[in-house]
């Protein structure tokens, strides 16, 4: 087991390094001149200003040198300064990340809590109403465009029915708690500020449902398919031939096997939620990483973009590593080949 963990860990480090190289190369070869974007036409027409700007941001160094600086900084937790906010990028990210982590985690738990049972029941009661429901859920979840879904739920539940709070993490009249973790639910609960807790929770409902949509669809679909596959295996027939109850056959025999593909998908889906909530965050004015990514991209804010992509890459690799580990725990064949 230890050997497996260490070798997977080594592989993860290599993958992160490769990812940073790719990110760096892409970021430094995309069209869009940051000088123009930042200085504006007038200042950009003055060669001295431009040269000074390029020098200040190290844009005049050779490519490999700049990569080295980037790597070195990264190892020290320094991703440089944002071209827009003129603050260390990592500080910006630290401000924005909690909102996203909170939203993504709630959305993920939501899609697991609904998707797993739904997928399992759909497979066990194949072609019943619950199977049709599961198929509808996964079809809608996977195919409905997120921004459309976001607008629709916002229009219905906030604009029309007025039973949900509006965009943002809190009502304008609520006082945000002093950040401890930056996750509002945890911070307010810790401080015992239940009014703000309720407000934060209410604000999470709509965006997390919207964000959960496609993940829920994927998890339902994968769980259903994996369960159908597992239920058709010989060992399930053997389990029935032993005289086990239907429940014991499903949960004790089919489910542990069906979980293998679901774990892989779930890990990737969670990483995706952390990385890709641009649409939802924009519509719900959610001050999270998605929004930050979006504004940085529009402004061609290189340090910010690279920091975000690097962190996303690390998140993906880390999740992958965790998936590998849970695989080894779930499936004894992984360790001994």
């Amino acid at each position: 087991m230890l050997r497996y963990v260490v070798s997977r860990l080594g592989l993860s480090v290599v993958m992160v390094l490769l990812a940073t190289l790719v990110i760096f190369l892409i970021a430094n070869t995309v069209p869009g001149d940051p000088v123009l974007m930042q200085l504006g036409d007038l200042a950009a027409s003055n060669p001295a200003t431009v040269a000074e700007f390029r020098h200040h941001w190290g844009l005049d160094l050779p490519l490999w040198h700049r990569y080295w600086i980037f790597l070195d900084g990264m190892l020290h937790g320094d991703f440089g300064e944002s071209l827009v906010s003129r603050r260390p990028v990592l500080r910006d990210i630290a401000d924005y990340a909690p909102a996203t982590v909170e939203l993504a985690s709630i959305a993920f738990v939501l899609s697991l809590a609904v998707g797993l049972p739904l997928g399992i029941l759909a497979a066990v009661r194949r072609d019943s109403w619950i199977d049709h429901l599961a198929r509808a859920v996964s079809l809608i979840g996977v195919s409905a465009p997120t921004f459309w879904l976001a607008f629709v739920v916002l229009a219905i539940f906030y604009g029309w029915l007025d039973i949900a709070p509006g965009p943002g993490r809190l009502d304008p009249v609520s006082f945000p708690p002093t950040p401890i973790t930056g996750l509002l639910l945890i911070d307010t609960a810790w401080l015992g500020d239940w009014d703000t807790f309720r407000d934060a929770a209410a604000h999470l409902v709509l965006p997390s449902i919207v964000l959960a949509g496609s993940t829920l669809g994927l998890i339902t679909r994968t769980t259903r398919a994996a369960m159908l596959e597992a239920l058709s295996q010989d060992y399930v027939r053997v389990a029935r031939a032993k005289g086990l109850r239907g429940r014991a056959v499903v949960t004790g025999h089919a489910l542990p096997n069906a979980m293998l593909p679901v774990v892989t998908l779930g890990g990737l889906a969670y990483a995706n939620l952390l990385a890709g909530a641009v649409m939802t965050e924009t519509v719900f004015s959610w001050p999270g990483l998605g929004r930050y990514t979006f504004t940085s991209a529009v402004a061609v804010d290189f340090p910010a973009i690279m920091a975000i992509t690097t962190i996303v890459a690390i998140v993906f690799v880390a999740v992958n590593f965790l998936v590998d580990l849970s695989y080894a725990l779930l499936d004894p064949r992984v360790l001994k080949r």
Binding site: R237, A241, R245
Partner: protein
């Protein structure tokens, strides 16, 4: 509770009456089991034989009520200890499953849940019926595994299934089956997926358990030898019904139904010298279970059919303790000894020049297995280790041995699909052992392979005509489309398929027909050497006989040379001139087929032959069975000296120290043993 011998047989514990299990599909009912009746008495061993699709498994699953939709019991009754199993509700049948009737399935590799420990899988079988506490069940699981011959059962219960071989897993399945002391055990092809040596061990075990525990057994098999070996009564199924019933002594020596008769004659025998390599086959295929024919369901293929056969016959007594569903034998008619099929019209056979076509010396193939992770030594698997082999022109050489002994690797080496690690392969005077693929290409035309699974080796998206024409074009054998079509038609005719087959896809053919297609493809380029890797292993006996006949005919007509791999010793004995016995990558013995079977010199050959069952209980009883100990060791870590020594009944100290050379015994027989012929 076995009945005392002096009392009349007790009432049956299981009575199946007119059972009908259909698959209610959208395209109409598939009448898989259609009017089956039989009894099982306490402690009895009942065998069920029949070809694939005859309804054996559906019948067994109906008794256990393990049918999946769209299968449904649409008629009949299954009386078991005063209940009708066909009509029990789910909770009541659950109490029967595993407790009163247990079942063991065909494939031990997939029958155990891969992510659960063996202990858990055994224990839950006992605790599910509330007869044992988990702790007591665990103790009992260990005892049962020991009884089943699993080494170190205390450790085995803590293991996962993938750590065990197929044979060991089947022992675990048997332990599970017997764990609640059921009154009846149903075993559906329990040894089909196993090697003949392991099969013999499992059948021994099954016999012993039946004797000691008094559990009645229903043994389903397509192998008459297996049935003869274990059962006291046999049912023969055909097209969803029982067509003959009786004691194996009677039924297998003097069949009273033409189908049983055909099965018996289609199977080659390990104990009989064949004067002709062609086997007796029956034409055609079983009828479509959607529309059983009126009258006798065997009529279209029956060589004995009379006018009366247009009426459906009943299963009626035909002598002491036996019954048959045939008008002719019910009226006392006899089933004559079959006429051999006439050989194909003689075509002037290309005179084969004598001398070896293939000569292999010191051949080795080592596979380097990646070690898990990035550390540690890579492991080396010596799949083929120092093998010498000669194949003369026009000869058929058989390759036998347990699974994993390197048969397929050797086949791929001589056709240079694998690159040898060391050694010479001389094909018709050219050393191809170290030649590059480009140098071998011109020779590819002359050596072709046929594989076990014809479906996997035929591209499902290509029409048969395209499959056959492909190699012709590749090797530039024909000019233009018309010539290619002409040649494809000839090839189809050669392997006995209608010319229209060229326009169809592989999935539209049966297993036997697909094997004909892959033979046609191999022959399309006009090879003189054909390597056949288990070409008949996936086929029913009748189809197997048809393919063997085809291969024999083609050899005569085209002067082919065969390297023939099979795990069925009877088949190998039947079709081969000479036989090479492999064990863990080494040659153990070589000899003419008749000599090798009559006077095996190597202990391994001897045990291998004695493990193969003969479909005649009288002969079975007189044969001396030499138990094959244990299972083959891992080829990653073979024993020192003689590789067979860990299982050899006469091994001595010298065997561990010295590798026995392949020595000449005389008469063209060679054995790699320090004490040849002593066993």
């Amino acid at each position: 509770m076995p009945a005392p011998a002096d009392r009349p047989p007790a009432a049956p514990i299981l009575s199946v009456r007119d059972l009908r299990t259909w698959f209610l599909t959208d395209a109409g009912p598939v009448r898989a089991v259609d009017g089956v009746s039989f009894d099982v008495h306490p402690g009895e061993t009942l065998g069920i034989v029949g070809e694939s699709g005859s309804g054996k498994s559906v019948c067994a699953k109906s008794i256990m009520r393990l049918l999946d939709a769209p299968a449904r019991i649409v008629g009949g009754a299954i009386h078991f200890r005063g209940r009708d199993l066909a009509r029990l509700d789910e909770e009541a049948i659950r109490a029967v499953r595993g407790r009163e009737i247990a079942m063991v399935f065909q494939d031990p590799m997939t029958s155990l849940n891969p992510v659960l420990r063996i202990a858990r899988q055994l224990v839950e079988a006992m605790t599910a019926h509330g007869r044992f506490t988990p702790a007591a069940a665990r103790t009992r699981a260990i005892d049962l595994l020991r009884r089943m011959g699993v080494a170190a059962p205390e450790r085995a219960v803590g293991s996962y299934p993938h750590q065990y071989s197929g044979g060991m897993r089947q022992r675990v399945m048997l332990a599970m089956g017997f764990s609640n002391e059921p009154a009846l055990l149903i075993a559906d092809e329990p040894t089909t997926a196993l090697d003949v040596t392991i099969q013999a061990q499992i059948l021994d075990l099954l016999r012993g358990l039946n004797r000691d525990m008094g559990t009645a057994v229903i043994l389903i098999s397509h192998d008459l030898g297996v049935i003869a070996n274990v059962c006291s009564r046999v049912l023969v199924m055909y097209a969803g019904e029982v067509v003959e019933e009786g004691a194996p002594e009677d039924l297998l020596t003097d069949p009273r139904h033409p189908y049983t008769w055909a099965l018996l004659h289609a199977a080659p025998r390990i104990d009989a010298e064949a004067e002709d390599r062609r086997l007796v086959t029956i034409e055609g295929q079983p009828p479509d279970p959607r529309t059983w024919p009126e009258g006798c369901r065997f009529r279209a293929r029956c060589p004995f059919a009379v006018d009366k056969c247009a009426e459906h016959p009943q299963l009626l007594p035909a002598g002491e303790g036996r019954a048959t569903r045939c008008w002719v034998t019910q009226a006392g008619g006899a089933l004559h000894t079959p006429a051999r099929p006439a050989p194909l019209p003689a075509v002037p056979r290309p005179e084969a020049a004598p001398g070896p076509l293939l000569q292999v010396t010191g051949l080795q193939k080592h596979f380097v297995l990646p070690n898990d992770g990035y550390f540690g030594q890579p492991r080396v698997l010596r799949a083929v280790d120092d093998v010498d082999l000669t194949v003369s022109r026009g000869e058929t050489v058989g390759l036998v041995g347990e699974s994993g002994c390197g048969k397929s690797t050797l086949a791929r080496l001589v056709t240079r699909l694998h690159q040898p690690t060391a050694g010479r392969i001389v094909f018709d005077g050219t050393d191809i052992g170290s030649a590059t693929q480009a140098q071998i290409r011109p020779l590819r035309r002359r050596m072709q392979m046929i594989f076990q699974d014809p479906y996997a080796s035929l591209n499902p998206r290509d029409r048969v005509g395209e499959i056959l024409a492909g190699p012709l074009r590749l090797h530039g054998i024909v000019d233009g489309e018309a010539a290619a079509r002409q040649r494809v038609a000839e090839l189809l005719d050669l392997v006995g398929l209608p010319v229209q087959s060229a326009r169809r896809f592989p999935h539209e053919f049966s297993g036997g027909q697909r094997q004909r297609i892959s033979i046609a493809r191999a022959l399309s380029v006009g090879p003189d050497f054909v390597v056949a890797d288990e070409p008949v292993s996936a086929l029913d006996v009748n189809i197997q006989a048809q393919i063997i006949n085809l291969m024999v005919d083609l050899q005569e007509r085209l002067g082919l040379t065969y390297l023939f791999i099979a795990h069925d010793l009877a088949v190998v004995r039947h079709v081969c001139d000479r036989i090479v016995v492999l064990y863990l990558g080494r040659v153990m013995e070589v000899g003419r087929a008749a000599d090798l079977f009559a006077r095996p010199q190597h202990p391994y050959t001897r045990t291998l032959i004695s493990a193969a069952p003969v479909p005649d209980p009288r002969i079975e009883r007189t044969r001396r069975h030499v138990p094959m100990l244990g299972e083959p060791p891992s080829p990653l870590n073979p024993p020192s000296g003689c590789r067979f020594r860990t299982r050899c009944p006469i091994a001595e100290a010298r065997c561990a120290a010295e590798v026995p050379p392949l020595q000449d015994i005389g008469g063209g027989q060679f054995a790699a043993c320090h004490f040849p012929g002593k066993f």
